[in-house]
Point group: D3
Chain length 331, copies 6
């Protein structure tokens, strides 16, 4: 485990030395006003990112061979210039694989991935439709896919944007979908669940999460809706005697899950399960975005009766944390 995190530096005494492991997110050569060269870095870990400056790039204690994407061990101190926190780096070398845990370097779920994965498999286990059960079992049994499914964020920014975020989002949705499926007899529960589990599976290839969260070129050009549909179609076609109608319905659910053409779904939901999926997916994403916003306000020490700033993931609206606001009024 890391000793110091980016988020800790805000409260660190200025000038005091620290040692830490960070992911190099950017690296640039620059010169000062007086024409002296220095290195400007963006260093990050799971708690955030910060600018770091190497004023003596020629110092032998500063490695020459590190690049964007490397993990480094750095010694330095924190300082504040014109009210902006910075790191001053005195020593730096590439970290050994054994020294670092990738989950320390990118934000990741606070839940236990093993438990989440077990829950997901449990939902599949509960299916009564043999075709859908065999489809999901086949897909989730693929070790590479399963590994990615456990790691992938649910989005680059908006909601569940952390390692394991996709799995966390899907398991939350499974629980929710189960409750809703029971409520509406019109819904085929296993079909809805299948849509929940597969709707974002294209993100396993749309996004990369090695050095920060980003889109792959394939992801940018095709999108996770197309990638996920194709992945699923290939899996279905590998199964003998999968009912063609069921195949059409499963693919339709992935295609239509954004609910609107302008959100990138080429088809509107036209079956009850697809309609329900698009609502629940959107609701779960927004509830998480709200929760994340409230957590951030708490961390930043905002008073309970101050609305949040304008939240991008919620159409620029401002929010109020009901429970906290009411709670304080009772004290």
């Amino acid at each position: 485990m890391k000793d110091i995190y980016i988020a800790d530096l805000a409260n660190f005494d200025e000038g005091k030395l620290f040692d830490g492991y960070f992911l190099v997110l950017a690296k640039q050569q620059r010169t000062t006003k007086t024409n002296k060269p220095y290195l400007n870095l963006i260093l990050g870990d799971k708690t955030g990112q910060l600018e770091g400056r190497v004023w003596e790039p020629g110092d032998p204690r500063i490695a020459k061979d590190f690049e964007r994407g490397d993990v480094v061990k750095a010694r330095g101190s924190a300082s504040r210039f014109d009210d902006r926190l910075q790191m001053k780096i005195d020593q730096l070398r590439v970290a050994l694989p054994a020294e670092v845990d990738k989950s320390d370097l990118l934000p990741s779920t606070t839940q236990d991935v093993g438990v989440l994965w077990h829950a997901l498999l449990g939902f599949v286990e509960s299916f009564t439709n043999p075709d859908l059960k065999r489809l999901l079992t086949t897909m989730l049994d693929d070790p590479a896919l399963a590994q990615d499914y456990r790691e992938a964020p649910a989005a680059r920014q908006l909601h569940h944007a952390w390692l394991g975020g996709l799995l966390e989002h899907v398991v939350s949705l499974c629980t929710l979908a189960e409750r809703v499926a029971t409520h509406y007899p019109i819904l085929d529960r296993d079909l809805l669940m299948t849509g929940v589990i597969l709707h974002d599976i294209g993100k396993l290839r749309e996004l990369s999460w090695e050095t920060g969260f980003d889109y792959t070129v394939e992801g940018a050009l095709l999108g996770h809706i197309q990638i996920g549909t194709a992945l699923t179609e290939r899996a279905i076609d590998s199964l003998p005697n999968f009912p063609p109608k069921l195949k059409t319905l499963v693919l339709h659910m992935i295609l239509s899950h954004h609910g609107k053409l302008e959100f990138g779904s080429p088809k509107l939901p036209m079956i009850p399960e697809a309609l329900a999926l698009s609502f629940l997916d959107d609701l779960d994403a927004k509830m998480q975005a709200m929760q994340g916003e409230f957590d951030k306000c708490l961390r930043e020490g905002k008073p309970a009766d101050e609305m949040t700033g304008k939240v991008w993931a919620l159409d620029q609206r401002q929010l109020l944390n009901t429970k906290r606001w009411l709670g304080e009024s009772r004290e």
Copy 2:
């Protein structure tokens, strides 16, 4: 109970006499091409409406004193002209109050209103927040309001457009909201429930359902969002020591429940409970609209593999009844 319903006439032998009770939805004086006067009526009951013609308005067996909104007993026969069904009315008189059951004359819920009402009160009973419980108890104890709440449709056309439709929609939403509230710890369950129960209460005065479903002038000019907010605010103000913050939150939920400005909500949902309410309300309305559309296709004998027509309540999209389509493929 009525002997014959509008919906039955489609399969009635042409020319055969029937007796029935109908609501007069329109009444006009007209003349034939040869200048002979006749009466043109629109008669309705819970199963639909149909044109009826009185060719001998001077016949003593035809009452003179009936108006739009009256219930009449009529004797006549069905016929089809240029492929359009019509009634030919031979005798007609105003019905006695004892002869008719209003629920026969307008479409009404197929569920037991007493059971639904009991369920609603049960939800209120389960509240742990004393202020919200006392607010809802006070409002639902008002006999006039309670009577309207049990009768009102949820809409003029789009969804749950039948007597008792509002209550049916709200009870469905309560069950659903309970399940969702448990899933998200961020949600204050009683506040969400309060929003569910009160969100459409303005419809008790926005709509009239005496002679068909229509908007009142007050309803057209103010809308159920404003009417419901005012109704609730008055109820709150009548309660001693109701917490002002809680009042603001309850009113905000009613105001924002349409989820978007362009749908007539003057505020977007800004608290978790309001966000959840707007999603669940929309989902429940759309699931009912889907169900209603599928029922209609079944009644009309459409084949299972034919998409529905373009459904107005669902942005003109066409729908497919998953279970029926899959079901037939297994036979």
Copy 3:
């Protein structure tokens, strides 16, 4: 070849007998005002469709065993009721396969399909990129696909809505794309051409054209963009060593060819070839729609200085046929 076409009936002497072959587009049992049963039919051929009535359905000269989708031989006369043309059918039987040419029964291209197909293959032949050439050769060599490609309409209604319309549209686009590719060095000509030839290939399964033009259930739920992408991906995956980057680009062109999310493309064009394809496709469709509208005005005898009606395929705008308008002014 047929002796009489729907379009001819408008100028046919009322009452005079005709014999003709028609496609049964609809068939309904009805009764007259006096309770007499009759059959109401919609009969069509490549020139249009018309209502036909069988007033004596019990007549032995009227077949009992025909259904929607059958081709029938009918004898009857044309008449006009309340300014609306109708057929009165006296005799009717199911046509023998040998008696009819399907291309007589649905509107179809006025160009020679063999010539068009040859032109298409010629474009593929001219490719210098071996991978794209082998992809298209493989796909177009599939006899079933080739048969469908020669028959399919380009759309249900808006443009090139006739048998062979897709092929006609694609060959027009190939010629155009060739000219544009030469103009912009930034464009990869073979990649652009590949996009042109494959962009609408999903329509082979999205649409059915046996009994009028309609959407299949699969087409309605998945859309031709998804169907075409999947078809192409499968073809690519069957080819050894197809470059993965090229695959991504080809799929991107199909996905993005509608040019806007709200038109059902899940991705905007992000490469020069996709941008050019979306422009040319749209331009060619609109030019054809204009041409079709002008032809219709000519057929209907509208004067040269009268704007067309509001054209649905062109955002409800009215059009003017420049050449005709100028031409007349010179006479």
Copy 4:
């Protein structure tokens, strides 16, 4: 009256000492690059706001007990760093109530509030409709409401965003509405006037103007349309025998005055008076925004033939001051 205003400092000799009274709009602890603590303040008055730095926060001449929202007396000098003006504060203490006039600390109307108020009462006095007259008289007689009405800004930013701005806007609208009411016989003059006077009354509680202009939590969650409607409804309900139809119309005018659903009006104007109100309100706000923009250009010394920047309150369009542009061309 204050001796020095924020706006004066731009032309103040650098380094020369000033004494002034300011409103503390923000207060933060910071440290310099060399880890020395200092205070960063935002100080404001009616002419603007400026950053101020206390480099010696431990100096006994610097008060410890002031907070955001306090009015302070400060001694210091102005300086410019990297072309940005700043205050360097040497002494600072909380001001005594008697020392300051609140209207010096926030921008406020340049008109005489007493005269405006008198004009407003004069309009009410002129009513011939006794019910509307008694409604307005009752409301404006409430001393707390009257006090707020005289102080409130008309908006947080867009137009009339200064103390007394609401009253100024309403009196301007009254004069305008009087002229328009005479022009259209269809308009009920007193009803239109009532709408003018009450349309923004909810802003008295939607906005706070103690320490800068901001939204209250109630204002953010309910909005001035709902707050104003409720306030008015309560006043009406307190009057014996107020005609119910008139009540509906008055409330409708407040509800619909933004003219469009997407601007937060839950109802479109459906009566002539509401339509006229929405037009005049919008016109007056935009004319004031134009005037304000032109005044700013003049202050900043922009030449007469230069368009303004993109004006946010006018859909980002650029403006030209006609009179000034023409005027110069005549010199």
Copy 5:
């Protein structure tokens, strides 16, 4: 003056003979079910239009030589078929020029055109800006333009759609603009007035009003904004020493008077006068549309407490006639 008007026929005894002058709006050859030829006409006058049938087109009392656009004298009777009023025409001849007054045949203003014209000239007379005065004087002195200005409707359908409607609309706007110009010192009164008088002058050529109201081809292709700007520019260029800045401003007002790009103005209003013009023009059009709708309801005998239907010219909203609704409540 005509003896009988279309509007009178609704209350005319069926079968009774009338004589009247009508404009032929359409003329078609048709045959009956029994193959008998007849003529179908649409006849109109200023009060409306109606279908007329000539059952004996060979009768020598029926002229052969009339066409669409002619004025005819017809003798016949009114009858009602399937609740739709019709004329049965027994005699018909082309009317002599002396027999008819064109203003009887198309709807026309109820105000005195001479008085309106005089008022318009009076406004021009009152100008103090000599350039604008000389521009308008020159234009309105052109006899052909002045004649058209007195006749033109203000629109084909939406508002002031009658002969003299444009003049009526402009004079109403002049009065209104005068009042508003006095209210805002920022406004150059003569420039605003010039915009009012010229903003729709392109309609003199965009519309034709000989045989019903329609667009000319030039009008359809260029639009009244372009036509009016060009007309004005030509007039300005014919005046010696007209100030170029003033020319730009006048043209800008015509160009931008629709207020939004999507309403066909290629520029948004960027000067105060243009902004005011776009508001007042829209307000006056909508007030007239409201008045027209209320008049229609009154004519049709709708009760005072029934909202109008959805009004196309007012974004499909329903309206309520305030004064009438309140009035009845006082009776």
Copy 6:
């Protein structure tokens, strides 16, 4: 030719002296933190623009008499402050006309303007329609107009934003239009060409390109669509016997070439030539914008597999350079 360009300074040794000619784009008086006055300049040439500071404005080697818009000769050095490049100016004087070539000071086409102009005249020469030929010949023969046509940029920013950009864009479009005109027999080739050559001619007065690219006041208030239409109309009116229909068509093409009302065209394209023009104009602009973006990425050394940033001229989408991406994959 200039010795040093703005773009070169990024790689210039800090502190080393340079001499260069620059256009003064802005000039401001400022003072340092210590109250010392200095001059802040924005200097530009065809390769970009940069901030320059004169720390000793009183130095006799610094001219007093230069203004925004002047070309100056400056001696100084480049330095970097907080990672932002700056010039430090030691000497500065106004350049002599003979010393500078205007095409060095603003970005300009890399093509030969003489060749482009010749190509344009060649297209006109090829016309078979005598009226259109004489119209274009007359206009392009006007020396002032021809001079402007050869210099004008096609836009202020989005595409072809350099001297000669308009001519370059038009000649590209002519070639393209020629190819498309041959493809669609419905198109009148000379009319389409006329539209191509005249569609942006209003930019000659909408834009100014003396001191950077900017809008004139006339341009801002009227726009190039109106200015170009008027210019063309005047030219047509000066030609004897120009066919009026042809005039309407030519003007319609200029008016409608933006293709949508919301893009500032007051009319949608309603004739085939106008439709084609709007497509080709948009396509050519976007192809150039893509090319420009790819060139920029290459200059900045971006890797071939990195998408571009969000491109403003292409609806904020990101782009991929197909050829470069594929090319690298083959190496």
